[in-house]
Structures are given as structure tokens and as C-alpha cells.
Amino acid sequence: MEWMQLPRTWLALLFAGLSPAVMAEAPSVGETCYLDGWHRPLLCHRLALTDAPERPELAVMVAPAVSETDEEPLYLLAGGPGQAASDLAPLLQALEPVNRQRDIVMVDRRGSGRSGAFRCDIDEQLSISLEEFAQGLAGCYLARPEFADSLSSRQTVDDLEMVRRALGHERVALWGGSWGTRTALLYQQWYPESLSELVLDAVAPIETKVFLTAQAAEKALRKLERDCSRDPACARLGDWREQLDQLLAEWDSGAAHPIPDPLTGQPAAKPMARWELANGIRAMLYDPVAAAQLPFAVTQASRGNFAPLAGLSGAFIHAADSMAMGLTFSVACAEELNRITAAEVAADSRDSFLGTAFYDLFRRGCDEWPVREKPYREPAPRDHPVLLISGEADPITPPRYAEEALDYLEDKQHLVVAGGGHINSRRGCIPRLIADFLAEPSSKLDVSCIDSIRRPPFMAAEFGPDLGAVGEMKPGEGAQ
């Protein structure tokens, strides 16, 4: 595989889970506008920011409530960091019950989406090795060092607070996904009076070092192993985990194999790098649909047929196009990478298929992205009702984070989706549970319906899932 595909793959592994979307028009104040992924008209505002050196404008998009009520609006906070809230438009389908009574507000944070995306455009270039990529980043940084240094969670939360006041919202509810949960939790620390309830999907608690992902990814893979072994068709594939370990171990010593481009079918000149393969596997764990094909793909690869693995990686191509890389590194380097110690990296990567493959990218990138450290204070207790949603087999924000690092939240409920990956707000009955929670945040939700959310059927062979096999896992079995 060409190096040019590197950014595709590793960006995908970072940010997969939420469909991206790109806006065609740029509407001005309070105009009717549309976002890809949602068919109904929105109201778009542009709020000028006079304090900043480059005087950017914030893009604010409002999906107006169907009926006018005095319910607090729901603000959607996107992940990344680097994803734009406007990319969350497809989520509006699932949030339709909420949208009946509440405005849903999307604010593209500074440096993302339609608020002056800080892109770097490295993924457009033909290169590149990890070193070349780092050099590309350095160039991007040097072009706008002040701007890069100005971007932070604090700034984003202050901007959201300004938008809240500009739109005349007394208090707002928040939905955060992935890194958006971090933004939401910080918002809650800094402006508790402005918030009513929080819905956090794929939780990145303030004190959790979410860029150390090797153990989380390893656990997600083990859940996949467990669920595969319980499925008769998948179990017949044999010990694919051992084959995977072997593949990774022997990759650099001869197992590597060039694979055809999954879009064009053109053969590649060079095989992909080992760390790229490991990150690719990790990325597939984000999405249960892709994960269900992993055992078969690995078995085939170990026999020298890399086509299924290539096809699987194809699903993530373009998935990260909307990510603003400059913003990603500005925030990640200032708020996360700086607080990770070498000992922690060593502990995290030990006994994992991923190792430091993910961390290394950011470590190397941040060397070329010398923004100031922006540490957080220890979180103070908060009593807003909070709904936490985790995928049991999420390779980056496992349920453990929500369980262990949020003791300071006094009123929280936690949904864990069996076999679930990264971001589950659109699956099964969860949209309804979110609506119920927002309607009555203080009552305990009846969460029994999430037991019926299951992994898709495993790929058994070239023909797909084995319709002739008994494929049923007992409800709840996946949750153990």
C-alpha cells in the first residue's frame, strides 16, 4: 500500500464512528440552510468573533423545534478534536423525537467545519512517510502558529457560552460524542449555571488520557473474540486471534503483502507498514459492522488473501476528510499529549496488538506542533442529570472510563451496549431513551430494551453470513 494512504487510514482510526458531511453553501445570518444527512431546513447564523487575531466567524446551525415550547435546546458537541458539529447532521434523524420540542443547535468550533477549518491539507498530498507527514504538519503549524496556539477547549466552551447568550437561551442541554463529551464535561465545570442536562456518548472524562488506546483496543478485540466464539459460524473460522498476532509479529519479516486498492482495484506497489495494519485493525473495532467481518478477513490474510482486509479498510476511506487536522493537533498536543508519561505509554502498550502504533503518530506530530500546555483543573462535583452511553467493545472510550472517572457527577445513569463500538446514539432504542431522559432527566430509565441491540451477523465465508447456521446469542449474553 502506498504511503499516500497513510493519512486515510490513521485518521479513520481516530475519528471513525460519525459520518462526515460537507456543506456546499455558506449561508449568512439566520438564513434557511441545509446540511448533508438531514432533509429538513435549518436556520444558519454567522457570529462574528472580534477578539481573535484572524477575526473568524462562528457557524451556528439550528434545527428549529417543530412546536414552540420553553424546553431547553440541545447543543451537539462534535468529536475529534477536529470534527465539525455540522457533520453531526445525520444524528438529527435519531434525535427527531427530541427535536419536536427542542431546538437542536450545532456550533462549528473555531478551526473546524464552516468556522474556518484548519485543515493542513496533508491528506491531499502525494507522499509520505511518517517523517514526511511530520514535516507536512510542521509547515502547516509554521504558517499559522498564533492561531494554532489560540485553539483550545477553553476557547471552544467560551464560544459556546457566547452563542448561548446570543441566541437567548437561558440554559441548554448538551449532547457530546467522543471528544465532544470532553468539551461537554469541561463546559459543565466552567459554566454549570448554563446547563440543564448532559447526554454523553463514548465518554472521554476530563482526567482520562484517552490517547492511550492500546489497552482499550485490546479489550475491544477480546470482546470480539468472545462473541465470535459463541457464534457457530464464526467459531468455525478457528483461532483467528492467534493468526492475527502471528501476522503482526511476522509482518516486517516477510508476511507483508501489497494489496489492491479497494476503490480502483489497481495493484499497489508496496505493502502497508505494520503499524498501519495495527491501526487499521483498531479502526475496524469502532464499527460493529466492520468488526463482524474482521475474523474472516484475518483468516484469509493469514492464508495470503489480503482482499477482504483491503475491502474492509476501504470502508474508512474518506471517513476523515472533514477532520480539521490543525485543530486536532492544536488541542491534542496542548491538552492530552503533554500529560502522558513514558511509563504510562509503556504500561498501556504492553500485551496489546496495537502497541504504540497509535500513540507514536501523535507523539511525532506534536513534536512539530509546539503549542503551549493547557492543563485542566481537577473537576469539581456537579449535580446535573447526566446520561452516559458506552459501547462494551469500544476501542477508544470503553465503558470503564465512564464507570471509573466520573465519581464527581452526582446524578448519572450509564447505558452499556453489549458488543457496541464507538458512538451508539443512533442504535436500537437509544434515540428513544435519550428523548425520555431529556423529558424526565431525574427519573430512572428503563434500559431493558438495549439488550436487543446486537452485533450484526459475522461474516462466515465468501458468501457472507451463514444463513443456514443457528446464529442466536441469548439476550444479555454479550454483556458479560
Binding site: S67, G311, A315, M459, A461
Partner: protein, 396 residues
């Protein structure tokens, strides 16, 4: 103003008072007006609640014959809206006649043929004469389609191709309707029904005050009073219109107060009718109420008997509503200024606009109402002439 006051204190006032007392003391007519006025808002609200309930809560029952030949299929088809019963055997016709909406039959070699890419058939038995058939098929297609997409995706992936090759483009639908405008569909019938309410509510009264009075021989006494004929027609028109108008107001009030109970938001509809809009709706119906009343009185005076009058007016009340429906369906551009000058059409258009919370052009509203009132005046003149007709009196 002074003249009107003097008129109301004088003979004309007494005449009007007499007509109003007669009208509002006619319990039968009053009940008819009230019942019809409340009937359609209640039906509309009940209907929409029932429809949504049916739409969201009803699930489809599928009998799966030969489930053992494809156990995973049976397992993955199940959903909240699709209840799957795996049956050993059964006659599709009998099953469809019983509790099942659909019967899906898997043949014996299904799994083997599937594995060999031989595209084995699945037999779906439906009863297209059953009302649930369309919904049931949709429920099955939702599940079967998703499963099919998954299989195709896995097959393509297994051959090293990215699944997005199967989607050469994305069709992004952009709906330009607003939540309040989406109400226009549901509320489309309301203007016609409000206008029908005017007709129905004033029907009994208009027959009673004209053909009825004539048959009870009190009309002759009334005509012997020193009052010009137009005053008699005006007094009767006002009395009849009062009950028709109040009926329509009652219907509007019932509709607006039932709206919060209707699952409008669930249907993506915003209740946009404003207080000012409701007041305007009431006011714009007043000239029409007068026109309906005077036309009904004219027709009833023309008719041979009380019975005859009732029959004629029953036809009259259907005709304009049918006309409005035909105009609506025939895609005539009714929004134009000239159309709004036409009584009934104008009122229908304004009501339609106000129901979805949009402002009505004041000029056309005033102009159209003036045209309606002008026609009322013409009809009153004709009515005054009709009262002088000799065959109006009972033969002795």
C-alpha cells in the same frame, strides 16, 4: 352609528330582536348547529390520534415456513415491528386468513443454494386485499432489505472492494416545507369543513324563518307590519347568520383547543395558528355567514313547502364544498388576487393561510369581504322583492 342605534331601538330593532329570539330558542336547530360544529374537530383530532397510534404501534405478524432451512434469517428478521413465528407447516392461504399478515416460505435447499451464490428464492405470500398488506410488506422489506444490504456488503468486502462502490452517489433530499406548512396537508380539509359548518348550522334556522314561517302563517302577519321588505330580509339574515357564524366560531374554538391533543409534532407539524389568526378567521367568516344565510333564505322562500326547502338547502350545502374540493384538486391557481374576490374561494384561501400561521394579504381580505358583502346586499334586495311576490302568501 347614531342612526344604527336609533334603528335598533325602533321598529327594525324589534324585528331583529324577534328574529333572534325565535332563532336562539329553536332548540332543535341549536343542537344541530352545536353538534355539527363540534363533530368535525373531534373527528379530525380523533382521526389523527388513531392514525398515528396505528402507524407506530401496530406490528406485523409473519409466519415463516421452513425457518429451519435458514435459522439466521428467522433470527435476524425479528424486530419491534415484525413479529416472526417459525412454523413447521401450514397452508399460506389459511395462515393469511387467520392472524398472519404475511407468510414467508423458505425452501429446503435455501441455505445450500445461498452458499453457492445460486440466489435461492424466498416465497412471500400476501393478501393484497387486506388493509394491512402494504404496511406489512413495508415492515418486512425494512428488515429483509437491511439484511440483504449486509450480505451484499460482506460479499463485496470479501473480494477486496470498498462497499461504497455500490453507491455511486448519495441522493441528499432537501425538504423546503416548514413545520407549519406541513400542517397544510392535515388541515387541508378544515377550511371547507368550516364553510360547510356555516351551511349546516344555519340550515334549520333559515328554513324555519322563511318556509316555516310561511307555513305557520305568521309570515303574513309580519309582512303587514309597517316595515319595508328589505328590513325583514336583513333581520332574518342576521338571525340566521348569527347561528351559522357562532357554529363556525365554535368549530374554530374546538379545533384550536383540540390541536394540542393532536400528535402534530410527531407528524412533524407545527401548530402555528396564532391568536390573531384565530380572531381573523372568525371575522372573515362573518360576511360569508351573512351570504350563506341570505342565499338559504332566498331559496327557502322560493320553495313550495318546508320539506321542499329542506331538500333544496341540503343540496345547496354540499354544492359549494364540492366546488371547493374540485377547484382544489384541479390545481387552479387559487392564490391569485382575482380568485380571492370570489366568495367561498377567498375565504377558503384565507383560512388555509391562517391555519398554518401565515399572514393573509390585508388588501385581498378586505376586497374579497367587500365583494361578499356586496352580494349580500344584492341578495337582500332580491329577497325584498321576493317578499312582495303574491304566491308567497298562503292560498285561501
Amino acid at each position: 352609528m347614531k342612526r344604527i342605534k336609533a334603528m335598533l331601538h325602533g321598529p327594525m330593532g324589534a324585528l331583529l330582536q324577534k328574529e333572534l329570539l325565535e332563532t336562539w330558542r329553536d332548540r332543535r336547530a341549536l343542537w344541530m348547529a352545536i353538534c355539527f360544529s363540534l363533530l368535525f374537530p373531534v373527528m379530525l383530532a380523533g382521526g389523527s390520534i388513531f392514525m398515528l397510534k396505528k402507524h407506530t404501534e401496530e406490528s406485523t405478524r409473519l409466519a415463516l415456513l421452513g425457518a429451519d432451512f435458514a435459522p439466521l434469517l428467522a433470527d435476524r428478521l425479528r424486530s419491534d415491528s415484525l413479529q416472526v413465528d417459525a412454523l413447521e407447516e401450514g397452508e399460506p392461504q389459511t395462515l393469511l386468513a387467520g392472524d398472519y399478515d404475511l407468510v414467508l416460505e423458505v425452501s429446503e435447499g435455501f441455505a445450500g443454494d445461498y452458499r453457492n451464490f445460486e440466489a435461492p428464492p424466498l416465497y412471500l405470500y400476501i393478501d393484497s386485499s387486506a388493509s394491512s398488506s402494504g404496511r406489512a410488506e413495508r415492515h418486512l422489506q425494512e428488515r429483509l432489505g437491511a439484511l440483504q444490504q449486509l450480505v451484499v456488503q460482506q460479499r463485496v468486502t470479501a473480494r477486496g472492494l470498498a462497499p461504497q462502490l455500490l453507491a455511486p452517489w448519495r441522493l441528499e433530499v432537501r425538504d423546503v416545507s416548514t413545520p407549519s406548512r406541513r400542517g397544510a396537508m392535515l388541515l387541508a380539509a378544515v377550511p371547507g369543513l368550516l364553510i360547510l359548518t356555516l351551511f349546516v348550522a344555519s340550515l334549520a334556522t333559515s328554513v324555519d324563518t322563511s318556509a316555516g314561517e310561511r307555513e305557520r302563517l305568521s309570515l303574513e302577519t309580519l309582512l303587514m307590519q309597517p316595515l319595508p321588505g328589505w328590513q325583514v330580509v336583513v333581520a332574518k339574515t342576521l338571525a340566521v347568520a348569527s347561528i351559522g357564524w357562532v357554529g363556525a366560531l365554535l368549530a374554530i374554538a374546538a379545533l384550536v383547543s383540540l390541536m394540542p391533543l393532536m400528535p402534530l409534532a410527531e407528524l412533524g407539524i407545527q401548530q402555528a395558528t396564532t391568536t390573531a389568526g384565530v380572531v381573523t378567521m372568525g371575522l372573515l367568516l362573518l360576511p360569508l355567514a351573512l351570504l350563506v344565510a341570505v342565499v338559504q333564505i332566498l331559496l327557502a322562500l322560493r320553495s313550495q313547502s318546508f320539506k321542499d326547502a329542506q331538500t333544496q338547502l341540503s343540496i345547496l350545502q354540499v354544492a359549494p364544498v364540492m366546488l371547493l374540493m374540485v377547484l382544489d384538486v384541479s390545481r387552479v391557481e387559487l392564490e391569485g388576487f382575482h380568485w380571492q374576490l370570489v366568495p367561498l374561494v377567498g375565504q377558503q384561501q384565507w383560512l388555509k393561510t391562517l391555519l398554518i400561521g401565515e399572514p393573509v394579504p390585508v388588501l385581498s381580505l378586505l376586497a374579497g369581504s367587500c365583494v361578499t358583502l356586496l352580494l349580500v346586499a344584492v341578495a337582500v334586495r332580491i329577497g325584498a322583492g321576493a317578499l312582495r311576490r303574491e304566491n308567497l302568501l298562503s292560498a285561501t
